[in-house]
């Protein structure tokens, strides 16, 4: 098995052995989104009109909360040093860790999304676009987040800084994903926004791993 796949496998095993704490992000996602009906009232029309946005903002925040797990534990037990010293290019290993992060954080969010869509009274024809947008858009969240996580690894109060660094960069993902869902809900073609969302994910796939690798090298000096 190649080192790339081994890194993914290792992170997946670590996440599984952490047990329930791996699902904290999903718990946060569901609880945060369920707060909105209390804040704006239970009117289904209001909920449906803000639903896609609420789900996406909650997903952004849930991703953000899980980002410190990405490198912090490896930094503390020293395995990050080994990854940096490994003969493989560091950006590939960073990509592997990011994929594992996506599998353990974003994928559970996507699975939980239909439940929230039901809570938010989104009509059934919006379910498929919502899931598709999350499937296409969340890789960008993990990838951009990896850069922020790498920049703040080992900091005493990295979490607050991480949110300030990463959230502004998440805005385009938020715009295009919600636009594609809203377009589908009013019977228009949501595919242009969906394609732009895909472009964002592919673009971050190319640029984020090298940037995160450079930031990790620096943090370990």
């Amino acid at each position: 098995m190649s080192p790339f796949l081994q890194t993914i496998r290792r992170d997946l095993i670590l996440a599984r052995r952490q047990g329930a704490s791996a699902f904290l992000a999903v718990g946060f996602f569901v609880v945060a989104a369920s707060l909105f009906p209390f804040a704006v009232g239970p009117d289904p029309d209001v909920l449906a009109s803000i639903g896609a946005g609420v789900i996406w903002v909650s997903a952004l925040l849930a991703t953000l909360l899980s980002l410190d797990r990405l490198f912090q534990a490896d930094f503390e037990d020293g395995s990050l040093d080994l990854l940096v010293l490994a003969p493989q290019p560091l950006f590939l290993l960073v990509l592997a860790k990011t994929i594992a992060h996506w599998l353990t954080t974003a994928l559970p969010l996507i699975i939980a999304a239909p439940l929230l869509a039901m809570f938010m009274a989104i009509p059934p024809e919006g379910f498929a676009p919502l899931l598709l947008a999350m499937l296409i858009g969340t890789p960008a969240l993990s990838l951009i987040g990896a850069v922020g996580a790498a920049l703040t690894v080992g900091m005493r109060r990295g979490g607050v800084l991480l949110s300030l660094l990463v959230l502004p960069l998440y805005i385009p993902v938020l715009i295009f994903s919600v636009a594609s869902i809203s377009a589908a809900l009013i019977g228009q073609d949501g595919s242009p926004a969906m394609m732009l969302l895909g472009a964002l994910s592919l673009f971050s796939l190319v640029l984020a791993p090298p940037a995160a690798a450079a930031a990790l090298r620096l943090s370990l000096e």
Binding site: L161, L164, L169, I171, F203, L207
Partner: protein, 245 residues
């Protein structure tokens, strides 16, 4: 190669100190003259707009501030790239020193935009595409400055901040166009566009003079901040040496 070695000459802080000392009086003079001419021309001489009345005069501060907000970010990213690639110490200091100035311009653009928006659109703030992208630019500046603060060693901080500035500068156009696509109420750009500016020369000239004045001001404050940063680091070294002996 020759250009490179010439670039490295400026890496010497002493040479930079002499050079900046020579440039500063001229830059200060230029700022004062351009600012005085531009403000007088813009606020007193230039005609009122047939639709907007006197409020159009906010433009002479708002538009140059918005231009400088974007220019400073690009400058910061270019300096960061130079610092990362050539390990040029002055480039790092230039990037660090430019950030608060850029944040200041961005803040000025936001405040004057709100003051202009109130009489024109009837509200202080609208979630319009261009306003919003300037707001996000402001957040990016804050993140950049916060990252500098978070590291103790300047050498490490400069490289982390440089990576962030480069990631940011790649994202600024993406954010700008996605936000613009999202919602646009702001009038489209009327100076920098294909086919020449659609603004009358009686307003264009004071605007351009104000833009130059803001540029000269940027140079003055940048040099001041860079000089004080160099001095602060030197004081730090002297204090450490004294503590050690």
């Amino acid at each position: 190669m020759k250009a490179m070695s010439r670039l490295h000459q400026f890496a010497n802080p002493m040479r930079f100190a002499r050079l900046s000392q020579a440039i500063l009086p001229w830059a200060i003079g230029l700022t004062v003259v351009l600012m005085a001419v531009g403000l007088y021309w813009g606020l007193v001489v230039s005609p009122v707009d047939y639709q907007q009345g006197d409020t159009v005069r906010i433009m002479y501060v708002h538009v140059p501030a918005a231009w400088m907000a974007m220019f400073t970010y690009v400058f910061m990213a270019a300096a960061s790239a130079a610092g990362l690639i050539w390990r040029h110490p002055l480039a790092d200091i230039a990037a660090k020193s430019a950030a608060p100035i850029g944040a200041g311009f961005t803040f000025l653009a936001l405040v004057t935009g709100a003051l202009w928006g109130q009489p024109m659109w009837g509200t202080w703030w609208v979630w319009d595409g261009r306003l919003t992208s300037v707001l996000i630019l402001f957040f990016l500046y804050l993140g950049y400055m916060a990252l500098w603060q978070a590291y103790d060693e300047p050498a490490k901080a400069s490289r982390a901040a440089a990576i962030l500035a480069l990631v940011g500068v790649v994202n600024v156009p993406i954010i700008h166009y996605s936000v613009e696509w999202w919602n646009t109420l702001h009038q489209p750009a009327s100076v920098l566009k294909i086919g020449g500016p659609s603004i009358d020369p009686s307003m264009l000239w004071p605007l351009l003079i104000m833009a130059l004045a803001f540029n000269a001001y940027f140079v003055v404050v940048l040099l001041w901040r860079m000089r004080s940063e160099i001095l602060a680091r030197r004081i730090h070294i002297v204090l450490m040496q004294r503590a050690a002996s």
